[in-house]
Subunit: 353 residues, 2 copies
Amino acid sequence: SESIRLAVIGGDGIGPEVVAEGLKVLDAALAGTDVTVEKTDFALGAAHWLETGEVLDDATLERLRGFDAIVFGAVGAAPGDTRVPSGLIERDLLLKLRFSLDHYVNLRPSLLPAGVASPLAAPGEIDFVVVREGTEGPYAGNGGRLRAGTDAEIATEVSVNTAFGVRRVVRYAFEQAAARPRRKLTWIHKTNVLVHAGRLWQRVVEEVAADYPQVAVDYLHVDAATIFLVTDPSRFDVIVTDNLFGDIITDLAGAVAGGIGLAASGNINPDRTAPSMFEPVHGSAPDIAGQGIADPTAAILSVAIMLETLGQAEAGARVRAAVAADLATRGPARSGTVATGDAIAAQLAARAQ
Amino acid sequence: SESIRLAVIGGDGIGPEVVAEGLKVLDAALAGTDVTVEKTDFALGAAHWLETGEVLDDATLERLRGFDAIVFGAVGAAPGDTRVPSGLIERDLLLKLRFSLDHYVNLRPSLLPAGVASPLAAPGEIDFVVVREGTEGPYAGNGGRLRAGTDAEIATEVSVNTAFGVRRVVRYAFEQAAARPRRKLTWIHKTNVLVHAGRLWQRVVEEVAADYPQVAVDYLHVDAATIFLVTDPSRFDVIVTDNLFGDIITDLAGAVAGGIGLAASGNINPDRTAPSMFEPVHGSAPDIAGQGIADPTAAILSVAIMLETLGQAEAGARVRAAVAADLATRGPARSGTVATGDAIAAQLAARAQ
Ligand SMILES: CC(C)[C@H](C(=O)O)[C@@H](O)C(=O)O
Ligand SMILES: CC(C)[C@H](C(=O)O)[C@@H](O)C(=O)O
């Protein structure tokens, strides 16, 4: 029998609500197997910061390293909450975890499920995965302000890109593409303007591509990519891109593929030098928190990615099948967080019999 | 009688084709008025560079300063054309003009015309304008590469943002918002990650907002903005954002509002210290160049923005009305560049009688 040691960070707003359903479904997926899950809750987020003045202290970060995986909800206080500095929790908790635990792959699949409406009139078949770089680019936090607050202020943001960092994520994306039936990889950047980073990305893509002759490679500027995401999303199979472009296009991709309430992600450390972390793409949505109406599907699908990453591919597939079955019959009427978690768990129980 | 001295840069690919129709419609719009147009062609672009090795020499740039306005087509060689370094013409011609002529406002209206299909199932009323900063941000060209071509390479891109630069474009956007019926301004950034530039933008928006109490202000992260652009585009009235975010969201906005073939723009120097420049948002589309099938509507609508900017608001409105009339009756069958220009010019002629 195997045991998964799981750290749980519900976070703020709807985070804890959707994570609870993810864990419910996780239990249902593993019922009847010899895999057990040992969960440890971490009360991190805006509320924790308001109480303690700490976002994520070193000791907690070290403890988190000891787990097999982390399930993450969402963080961020309400925009109107002036007690919490804008972006503080996002940076010092979420991004700190991604960087410290070397989550260099941010894996974000987009799949428009049967029975789910897209905002597009003719979405076609949407089934692609974005491999977003997670540990460098404009997210490095470099830059600063000079003469802040004056008419002569200058503020810089430095995007940091390394051959080391680009190569490992590009290689991961080629592996993904090689394992999929269409074997197509689109890399996205803005090489005509961001020439320095663009040339590095281009060189690395070309070098890695030589090892994958079976994968067809194409390139799109990020602006053009957003057009294709709404006019022809089925052209995409695997996308690889930098941290910021990946942030932007995965929100758009989520919206197009049935809504951000379905968009799951894995912050993955493929080298397993630290635990990977699984989270819905959506935010903490303070406006609907506490009402029990948030859609937990993205959190549940993030658990499926976790199972696959932890070598429990069958259990992951069961979760996906249960979600698909639920979505096909859900209808627009149901909107309860717990009801949705229950329905998906019930799908799993029914399949187990 | 008044004369407009116009510099014409057709550029590459479909650029000259669509610009020819823009000028045809310009003539039709001014026929019967006492405004004359004196056009001077500039053969700049990839072909010019291949012939001469110059993209834009100092003398030509100085000559361009003497005109009242510039009409610009599109630049950029075919992606497969290895003779032209990727992005060279875009940077050393288009961006050099925007920066040298201090086009700090890149004005990009999005309006879904009657009779035109959107890729969205339920687009609603789309009528907003993006005020994109044009002279700083990640487009500043700062950054570089260290140990290029090695495994230890590092490449940086530096986004440069100044109080001076942000304030003038934000003020312009507030002026636009104050003059529109809905009086709403949305500023878009990624303040939770790009904190340095984000704080500068936030401070400036708050300071300028104090002068416009009648304008309702809201803020969106750029990733969330892409979601709203496909789920609820009618929420937008005036958007103000930085150079790179503006690049991305205006392509998406163009796609949503009937296609990038309709998206017009003005690179505007509101202080009139140099000529403004008017161009379609689309690129040079080498794949369809020379076939006479490119849609010239974006170039024609860019001429409308030019007329408005040059104080010929009535003529600009006539062009818009002619385009709207043509779009309402065009049907999906017509796809000829010249035929579309002719039809719109004919609409203008019919109205003049
Ligand atoms: C909350 C924020 C820092 C985060 C990001 O920008 O990566 C979010 O938008 C995401 O996509 O996971
Ligand atoms: C061609 C390119 C440099 C340009 C830009 O990025 O600004 C284009 O995409 C645009 O939007 O006008």
